[in-house]
């Protein structure tokens, strides 16, 4: 309900309004009516106070001004922008206080236009901001430079150390995977000869030992071959390209299914977005994943592998703490819903194993999965979601940096 204002308030040299707890204008003085270009008070009375605010000031009103008034009962020197009837805007400074009348609260509020002062203030703010920015930038630069120096020294040491380790590894893997093969082969040949030649006059115990030697030689050669293959993952065979995962997934699924000779396996794959990667390796990755999901399936039950994908922002810093740079990453979930047996537990255990080399011999597929994912600066893990579902979660950045 609107009330006439005392004449003195009507001609105050500033805008004056009163509004209710619900932000409804109850009265407005003549000065404000003229300032905003209205012709009569009735145009504003009983309207929401936001009628005379710009959209931004409405936002500020709701998030700051009104809460402040409710909490403190007053506010002073608040900067707002008023909206005139014809759309023009007027910057004002506003003071408001709460008056408690007969049980209801009423807010009294004055608006002082600061168009000229506003320009001046704008310049001040601009100058302060520039000074602050320059200062921040300077401080940040100095800090960053110091940090960078420390990083560079650290990085250099690590690179030296890594290249030494790498060289050792290269030598070692060559010896282990190649040079050792020949002596192993020879031992195998000789032990085989001894078995053939001594078949009639050697004791059964001795023959048993010789057969064991032969068996271990075969195992050693297999291990050496796998190791060589594993080490070769360090050097991708092809360069980075944009990969259509949908094709790769379909093809590798079919290949792994055919290889297993098993039936009752279906793939239910959502369309995935393109990611950058090493094609040969990503193919190997999905082949190994499917191969193992099939290997650990529950016997005599149909197996459905469901693949879904979503893009998530993740922090591209994986080892450095308190450093953030968000990148788009494709999160791929592979779920099977027959994991009601011990097989899935073993699958999860093997997939989450941290030691790489240790598992090369027994679980080459799992070790190579982790290696390939890490080559792409991603991550992989597995979990049993409930007693029926085994889930592999794979993170691959959309783009490889550098």
């Amino acid at each position: 309900m609107s009330q006439p204002l005392p004449p003195d308030l009507d001609t105050l040299p500033c805008g004056f309004i009163t509004f209710t707890d619900a932000a409804i204008i109850q009265s407005v003085n003549e000065t404000l009516i003229q300032l905003l270009g209205y012709s009569q008070k009735a145009e504003l009375e009983n309207k929401n106070i936001e009628t005379i605010f710009t959209l931004a000031s409405c936002l500020f009103n709701q998030t700051h001004f009104q809460p402040l008034l409710h909490l403190q009962g007053k506010a002073s020197e608040i900067f707002l922008t008023l909206k005139c009837k014809d759309g023009r805007t007027i910057p004002v400074i506003c003071n408001a206080t709460r008056k408690l009348g007969d049980g209801t609260a009423m807010y009294h509020c004055i608006f002082l236009p600061i168009e000229e002062r506003g320009k001046y203030e704008q310049e001040l703010i601009q100058a302060r901001k520039q000074a602050q920015d320059a200062l921040n930038e300077n401080q940040e630069l100095i800090a960053a430079k110091k940090e960078l120096e420390a990083y560079r020294i650290d990085l250099d040491r690590r690179i030296s150390h890594l290249s030494q380790v790498n060289e050792d590894m290269g030598q070692f893997s060559k010896v282990a995977s190649h040079d050792l093969q020949e002596p192993i082969r020879k031992i195998a040949v000789w032990s085989d000869k001894m078995i053939v030649q001594g078949k009639d006059h050697l004791s059964e115990d001795t023959l048993k030992i010789l057969r064991n030697i032969h068996k271990e030689c075969r195992r050693l050669r297999m291990l050496a071959m796998k190791l060589e293959k594993y080490i070769s993952l360090n050097k991708p065979a092809d360069s980075l390209t944009a990969l259509d995962l949908n094709d790769i997934i379909r093809n590798e699924f079919e290949a792994a299914t055919a290889q297993s000779g098993q039936t009752g396996i279906t793939l239910n794959a959502a369309t995935l977005t393109v990611v950058e990667g090493y094609q040969t390796q990503i193919k190997q990755l999905f082949y190994a994943l499917f191969e193992n999901l099939i290997r650990f399936r529950a016997p005599s039950q149909p197996l459905t592998i469901r693949i879904t994908g979503q893009i998530e922002k993740t922090n591209s810093y994986q080892s450095t703490r308190e450093q953030y740079r968000y990148i788009d990453t494709l999160k791929i979930s592979l779920e099977t819903n027959d994991g009601k047996d011990a097989g899935s537990k073993e699958f999860v255990y093997l997939m989450n194993k941290k030691a790489f080399i240790e598992s090369v011999e027994l679980d080459f597929g799992f070790a190579s999965c982790r290696k390939i994912v890490s080559n792409h600066y991603g991550s992989i893990s597995a979990a049993t979601e409930n007693e029926y579902t085994t889930k592999v979660t794979l993170f691959l950045p959309l783009r490889q940096i550098g």
Binding site: Q62, T63, L68, I78, Q310, I311, T314
Partner: protein
Amino acid sequence: MIKSAIFRNNVKVSGRGTRPMLFAHGFGCDQNMWRYITPAFEEQFKIITFDYVGAGKSDITAYNSEKYSDLTGYAQDILDICHELNIKDVVLVAHSVSGMIGLIAANKEPSLFSRLVLVGPSPCYINDGKDYIGGFERKDIQELLDTMDKNYIGWANFLGPAIMKNPDRPELAAELTESFCSTDPKIARQFAEVTFFSDNRRDLSYLRVPSLILQCSDDLIAPLSVGDYLHSHLPNSVLKVMKATGHCPHLSAPRETIELILQYLKTAVISHIAP
């Protein structure tokens, strides 16, 4: 050194129930904003409230402008809290921008959450010039940021003397800082920028946790069209248009807010979405 999320986010746990209910405040507020809502759930739930870094009594030294340059940084803090408290099956009640922060968290680790209650959410505040109506033009947001810049001088002058003048009444100073939401204007300013320029429309279809959208009938910050958009893009969501107006029904219409949440928690089907 990595600090505890409990300390960093001023986490408070109360209530007599076991099922966790986590309340995430919105832009320009702190956890006190939930004071009319939480008592209604204390009997049945374990109530968890917290302040985002830069708000309320959070640890301001934990502010990292790179981390919080995206809502993902705030979402990580929600996940940290869940992990540290070792809670699962969480009902997350999220106001305003927290709605999208909660969505990001729930997309990252869906198994932690059983329900999302989104109060006045918006996936994108700015009209995209095509068919999406967020309610604002880019220039409106720019003007808001300017308004905030201009008022910070005022904030400091306004709050400073009030605290200074009553050295013999420390409880008053405490009350002032407590009730005044954004304790750090610089952080609030960046939070505003990150919030109002955010666009999380892409993330909506990924949500696997059932959600309730509480849409106010006259909300400047999240207009009706935004509620409709969310409802049609969030799988397994329920939309309730409230009688309450404004952007803060949990302050202006706590009873209606509580009623709708209770109703939703009672009737919604407890289902992990089938594949």
